[in-house]
Symmetry: C2
Subunit: 569 residues, 2 copies
């Protein structure tokens, strides 16, 4: 491809609208353009990357025995009413009417369409299992689309759905998909991790997310340094500290702590570590309709953070989690939020496992400007329930039983799930078994965010000059940058002849034939991130050489012109 | 691919809902399934065909120098307001609101998005010409979707848009696209014709449709038997008959024709050819707002059909064309619709060129149950205007000046168009010229109905047993049908070994490993239309042979097993 016949569309300046690195580079390198909030046009360079990702995903899905279909983006509402999601799905589901005022949705996923299809097409257990996938444009009406294609509204997704007559069969296919996903992310050249995800009501290892590791990731992933355990921090269990709780060695004492409210301030003021203090949060409890909601106290070690997902799953706690208001706190405890503590508290108390393991700790005295020191459970504060309600932190023992937790940030690019019978039940999807009985099917579903992978790859692979594509998904294998070609017939001839040799050999090459200064051209190709850049300059031609730059390593070498094709290949 | 791991989904019965052959076979052969009116899921077999069509289109677009992008399906209304199509486009444009009540459309085409993009990205004439394409899912809210994917609502289309600083440059690219389209349809293996289409306000040969010829086509195409002229019948000019109009030889006479109304009845009753009669149709004329619409008489030879598109373009005739009501006819002429004629008619009269060439003709007498014979223009009927208002018929002289018209039916699968400045003007899309002047660009647009081609290919290539795919777009190259494999280890081993050899050689093969009767399997593969069917049967194995059936010719030959791969390849 010659740049003169191409829509290169690189930008020198970083658009102010772009918050994250990948979005900045996707705009600057001419990969995408914004059409409206969360809606993008893929420019030629971006589409080349997107298609490479798509093809790797397709090849591995086919290798894993999945068969490809293509379902419509516009779906009739009645399917969603049948599954129950018409009511359950929030405003991210874009609903619309056709010219006859019949209701439709723009599909964010296709469980309904595929379950109805299989229900119509498959009659016998003999036709199963089946694993059906598509690579298709989806729409999710995000309230605040952001980060470019990372959280857009229209996006390209691979979604697969498998159908089984037994849980064992589902588990087999789930493992096949798990392995296929690992191969996909390996082939893409990305540093990724399968991560245990929320298993919901099914239990077991029934769901994994696949994350691309990147400092800018939205999710915290907890790894074990002693095994291959990895889980979303929100979902990783915080174990109770090992051993017995130490015996009390101090007596409880009320101390004046004027205007000392945050845990950091209390620890400094009383000269103790924050891990020797506890913090007590009041949240809204569950209530019957029409009743005033009670409040519930959640007690954590001073250096720990509340895990809202764990807390809101507990009986007695309202879901979604809601912090008590100042008035509710005043009414229940009689002091401000910074002075609450578990001693003689009259509301229900839930204590995190680590906080419950403390002896001789510091806490609020339920009186403004006072704290207790030397507090001990049972002796000074009783009537409490111990639960896991905190986020794991680095150094925690891994819940897998081996090693300790380290935390890295990740971008979710895939999710596989043992779905069970939710849709098959609702939509009456079953088959005749060998026994003659009609049985409802069990399902798995398997998603990959194809367009999101492009952004995630950039978050993981860039420097300050631009993108450093993994070779498998680079828009071009190599760029040819001739220096001042329009002033040197020799440079032009050499560049053209190398270009022709690359084309003949099937190398994907971008030939920069613009009349631009070398600096402008270099900057563009560093930005676009082509893995290899061949620089054709007058001063190396006497020796029949060109310069070859490796974009990832930055290494530059002089190469004989007649060897360049072999080296690139 | 083994049928046991595949979603074959063939049907024995023709679904009652399917009106046309292609829709019937697409359902029966398991190519598509209906999800809602005009919305289809492409099953694996159908998608394989669709992808092959898509790939041929993509390759030829790239070869022709077009660059691929991907624009969003959901488009913001403001772009459509800017182009003017928000008001001009009828209810086929599906409009919707997002969660913030901002208006959007589902894109039926992408002129607005691409024109805005080029307007933002291209600043200088040096970056032009550019030809940008995408292969993308479109939506058109047809009032009555029918014929399966032939006239669906959501469909796959290749749309390309070219941008130029001069008409000459546009014409060059138009010719490149014309040639690329010819290559595409040749590679697809279809009998097709480029056809002159309505040139609108631009003039010249500025638009061509590409039609796949098939008896079931919706469009009539007029060809010359003496040149390569071809035009949509609606758009082909009907020339005036050669020579002078014959002189009158009869005198006008009023004859009683009780209850004789249709042209056929009149001709029979008076014992003349229908081409010696004229029919007079009253249509609604143009009127200023608030005024009562006048009526206008259109006079055609009895054996000719009115061309509504030609008629409604005439000054004085309302557009869209509307026939006068019984009351309007009664009021204007005083008789029923079957007795009108041009003699002493008091409304404006427009006479077709061929009707105007008649002498001594028969027409209605503007009195129920009476006709005139021996009528002659000017002598008996004056104050008329002569225009081309009829469809051409076979045998007409070709408007190209060479040969006569023959008519075939076609399915429109492509359309190329010299669009001019309509969108570039409206959306301020221009560049800086070498002269330093800012100039508005001129555009071409080029569409191919990718999903429609699949249906059109079937309309052209089938017999009563099923589809006869051209090899380039067949879902599989070859099917292996083992006879009673489950009763013969020898048949099974041979079939498996041929299957493995095909797979290793990259042949796309469907191996029918179902426990079905041979007849069921044959019928399915004839229906699906795989070009070659290898039949492995016990009785030929002693001679180390299998039977090879050519689906298109029906020819069956015995082939040595060790030669089968070479023959297929």
């Amino acid at each position: 491809m010659r740049t003169s016949k191409y829509l290169l569309s690189t930008l020198k300046e970083t658009p102010a609208s772009a918050e994250v690195i990948s979005h900045q580079f996707m705009l600057r390198a001419g990969l995408v353009r914004n059409v409206a909030s969360g809606l993008y046009t893929w420019l030629p360079t971006g589409l080349r990357v997107l298609k490479k990702v798509e093809n790797i995903v397709r090849e591995e899905m086919e290798r894993a025995g999945a068969i490809e279909t293509l379902m419509p983006m516009v779906q009739p509402a009645d399917l969603w009413q049948e599954s129950g999601r018409w009511d359950d799905y929030g405003p991210e589901l874009l609903r619309l009417n056709d010219r006859h005022e019949r209701p439709f949705v723009l599909g964010p996923t296709h469980e309904e369409v595929i379950t109805k299809l299989i229900s119509n097409e498959v009659a016998s257990y003999k036709q199963l299992p089946l694993n059906v996938f598509q690579i298709q444009t989806k729409f999710r009406d995000e309230i605040r689309p952001r980060f470019g294609v990372m959280r857009g509204r229209e996006f390209l997704m691979k979604d697969a759905y498998s159908f089984h007559t037994s849980d064992d069969c589902l588990k087999d296919t789930y493992q096949v998909m798990y392995d296929a996903y690992c191969r996909i992310f390996e082939r893409l050249g990305l540093d990724y991790r399968p991560v245990i995800a929320d298993t919901g009501s099914i239990g077991g290892d029934a769901s994994h997310e696949f994350h691309v590791l990147a400092d800018s990731g939205e999710d915290d992933i907890a790894f074990s340094d002693g095994s291959d355990f990895a889980a979303n921090v929100e979902k990783a269990e915080a174990l109770a500290p090992a051993g017995e709780r130490p015996a009390p060695s101090q007596s409880i004492e009320k101390v004046s702590t004027p205007n000392v409210k945050s845990i950091a301030d209390v620890a400094t003021f009383l000269n103790v570590d924050t891990n020797q203090t506890v913090k007590t949060l009041l949240v809204v409890g569950e209530s019957a309709e029409g009743e005033t909601a009670p409040v519930v106290a959640l007690v954590l070690r001073g250096d720990h953070e509340l895990n809202e997902i764990k807390a809101e799953k507990l009986a007695g706690v309202a879901s979604p989690l809601e912090m008590a208001s100042e008035e509710q706190i005043k009414a229940a405890v009689g002091c401000g939020a910074g002075s609450i503590g578990p001693v003689e508290l009259t509301v229900p108390v839930i204590v995190d496992r680590s906080a419950a393991h403390l002896a001789d700790f510091v806490c609020g005295a339920n009186q403004d400007d006072f704290h207790f020191t030397g507090v001990n459970w049972d002796r000074d504060a009783s009537n409490y329930q111990v639960e896991d309600i905190r986020n794991v932190v680095e150094g925690d023992p891994s819940p897998c039983g081996s090693g300790n937790i380290i935390i890295k940030r990740g971008i979710e690019v895939g999710h596989i799930f043992q779905l069970g019978k939710k849709y098959a039940d609702a939509m009456n999807c079953g088959v005749l078994m060998e026994s003659g009985k009609h049985e409802t099917l069990t399902m798995g579903c398997y998603g990959i965010g194809v367009s999101r992978i492009v952004a995630a790859a950039i978050e993981q692979n860039h420097d300050k000059y631009g993108i450093k594509w993994p070779e498998a998904i680079a828009p071009f294998n190599v760029a040819i940058v001739p220096m001042n070609m329009h002033k040197s017939a020799r440079v032009q001839e050499t560049a053209e002849s190398i270009y022709q040799r690359f084309l003949d050999a099937g190398v994907e090459v971008l030939f920069d034939d613009r009349k631009e200064r070398p600096g402008v051209m270099f900057n563009d190709h560093e930005l676009i991130g082509t893995p290899y850049i061949v620089i054709v300059g007058e001063r190396n031609l006497d020796a029949q050489q060109v310069e070859l730059k490796n974009r990832r390593t930055g290494e530059k070498t002089l190469v004989d012109i007649d060897k360049i094709l072999d080296i690139i290949k």
